[in-house]
């Protein structure tokens, strides 16, 4: 019976039906390919961003693709409760929250000399008692060079070493800076910035804005910084020939006791830009002291707990949310890609670069 019904039908319109089925499948595949980036080669993706880091400095298997050189630290945060008026995050209730952190220098080369850049970074993971986490990555500079992921990518491309000289092409760099006047504030700072001799004496800035949310849902845009208690300056930056003085200085200081930073929260006024990390907020903005970060231990990153932590700045507890800063989702997405690459290398998965032995080249 069924056959009798369907045979004429099959004869009549099958070509059109096959074409329709093929078209539906093809359109679905094309849409999937576009959304997934395979059919959108111009779109900036996390993978393309991390690929550019590797093109600029090489691939160091097992290491972060940026801020590759660093040390693990551990300690705790003693909250004084003052930030609780602005953020309901449990970390700001009076009391202690354990912290696993990492000091590092920017760059993809885990063997770079500590004096190669004037910037130091501090990454922290606060493990709240309620199981939530707050992860933050801060840098010792007042502003970020660029405001968008696209500009950051363009900067990386401009910095790619010329195969002929092994150095970035000055013309390309000049062209990038000319096209990106928002880099002026950072460049002015970088002109006089000196590589510090110690992680302990640096002030670390969130750079990106975030939004605190209080218990009633009221939102307050903020930036934060870790202000060091140690101010001795650390003397001249490293002895000649010592490329790794920062880790040694840190261990030396911790042997004499814990290091402390004050967590300062700067409250934005209405109208202060939250989407532009190249701009500081006026210096009269209200700042509250949220408590004290105490770092009391350090371990090499190969064996420390920080090695396996992705300091994704968008791992936030209830009470802190991302601002509209376009760098934040880009950092989160790119860090995830870097984390997958280095953990894949650690797992010796096929197709990944082999981790290198622990030696200085």
């Amino acid at each position: 019976m069924q056959k009798e019904l369907s045979v004429p039908a099959r004869r009549k319109g099958n070509a059109g039906s096959w074409a329709l089925i093929g078209a539906v499948v093809a359109v679905t595949v094309a849409a999937f390919g576009y959304v997934g980036g395979w059919l959108a080669p111009q779109r900036l993706t996390p993978a393309r961003l991390i690929d550019q880091f590797q093109r600029n400095a090489g691939t160091f298997a097992g290491y972060r693709r940026n801020h590759a050189k660093g040390v693990c630290v551990a300690g705790y945060f003693d909250s004084n409760g003052q930030a609780l008026a602005y953020s309901a995050a449990q970390v700001f209730a009076p009391g202690r929250t354990p912290v696993v952190g990492r000091f590092a220098i920017p760059g993809s080369n885990p063997y770079a000399p500590d004096s190669s850049v004037p910037i130091r970074s501090m990454a922290l993971r606060f493990a709240l008692a309620n199981g939530q986490q707050w992860r933050t990555g801060m840098n010792s500079m007042p502003v970020f060079p660029v405001a968008t992921p696209q500009a950051f990518f363009a900067q990386l491309q401009a910095q790619q070493p010329d195969p002929a000289t092994g150095k970035p092409d000055p013309a390309k760099l000049a062209a990038f800076f000319a096209a990106h006047p928002e880099t002026a504030a950072f460049r002015a700072w970088a002109k006089t910035a000196k590589p510090s001799a110690s992680f302990a004496t640096e002030s670390y800035e969130s750079l990106n804005a975030f939004v605190f949310v209080d218990a009633h849902g009221k939102r307050q845009p903020v930036r934060w910084r870790m202000l060091p208690q140690a101010t001795d300056g650390g003397g001249a930056a490293g002895k000649a020939g010592d490329a790794d003085y920062l880790a040694a200085d840190l261990a030396g200081r911790l042997a004499h006791g814990p290091l402390r930073w004050q967590l300062q929260i700067t409250l934005a006024n209405a109208g202060d830009p939250t989407n532009d990390a190249t701009k500081t907020w006026p210096s009269d903005r209200r700042t509250i002291d949220a408590g004290t970060l105490v770092i009391d231990a350090t371990t090499p990153q190969q064996s420390g707990e920080c090695r396996d932590i992705n300091y994704d700045p968008l791992v936030l507890p209830a009470g802190i949310v991302a601002s509209d800063d376009p760098l934040l989702p880009a950092r989160s997405a790119a860090y995830a890609d870097s984390y997958l690459r280095r953990t894949s290398e650690e797992a010796h998965l096929p197709g990944t670069a082999a981790p290198q032995p622990e030696k200085q080249p």
Partner: protein
């Protein structure tokens, strides 16, 4: 076990079309968020995790419905190879819709991430922290997503083949809950008319195509 009736039950049809929308959306959300550095990355990720858990719960309910109410048999004249492909792809779909959320959950656990479904709703970890396990699970999550997408394509293509070319009632058995032409071995009594609307809601495309008949 209730005997087969030649139709999919109303819960089976509602679950099928609801999950079809959710799973296809999930596949697009997944590939879209990992290929984006814009704010889209964040809000897609915020949907991805709770939606994954919703799919896991629905998949468990659906598996129970499926085991309790076996689906109508395929047309008796369907070639054995196509029957086998149908059976295998259906169980592969079930396996993937259960495995994908669990792998995602385990992967975040292994990576040491708090598994947040919202700003404060957190699931417990289901896997010990391990970077090696994270890498393996994260790749599995991606590969299985591709396999799920391919299986979905085959499933959709086969459904349209049944509806447009074979016109054997297989597609309408999932849309209307009864077949226009009964399989040789099975008699059926007409499905109550009020059942039809629930399935029609989510299926303009295939349903419209079926009406061409």
């Amino acid at each position: 076990m209730t005997p087969t009736t030649g139709t999919f039950t109303l819960p089976a049809r509602v679950l099928h079309w609801l999950m079809a929308i959710l799973i296809v959306a999930m596949l697009f959300i997944g590939v879209g968020m990992v290929a984006s550095v814009s704010a889209r990355h964040e809000w897609l990720l915020a949907i991805h995790k709770p939606l994954g858990i919703a799919i896991l719960i629905l998949a468990i309910v659906r598996l129970a419905v499926r085991l309790r109410h076996p689906p109508p048999p395929l047309p008796a004249d369907l070639p054995a190879l196509q029957k086998l492909a149908a059976l295998a792809s259906h169980w592969l779909l079930y396996a993937l819709m259960l495995a994908m959320p669990l792998i995602g959950w385990a992967m975040l656990s292994a990576g040491g991430y708090p598994v947040m479904l919202g700003s404060s709703l957190r699931l417990p970890p289901i896997f010990p922290v391990s970077p090696v396990a994270f890498a393996v699970l994260r790749h599995l999550h991606g590969w299985f997503a591709m396999l799920l997408f391919l299986t979905f394509l085959a499933h959709m293509g086969a459904a349209l083949y049944h509806g447009l070319i074979r016109r054997d009632g297989v597609l309408s058995s999932m849309i209307r809950g009864r077949r226009k032409t009964a399989p040789a071995s099975i008699g059926y009594s007409g499905e109550p008319a009020e059942n039809a609307h629930a399935a029609d809601a989510g299926s303009n495309g295939p349903d419209a195509a079926e009406r061409i008949e």
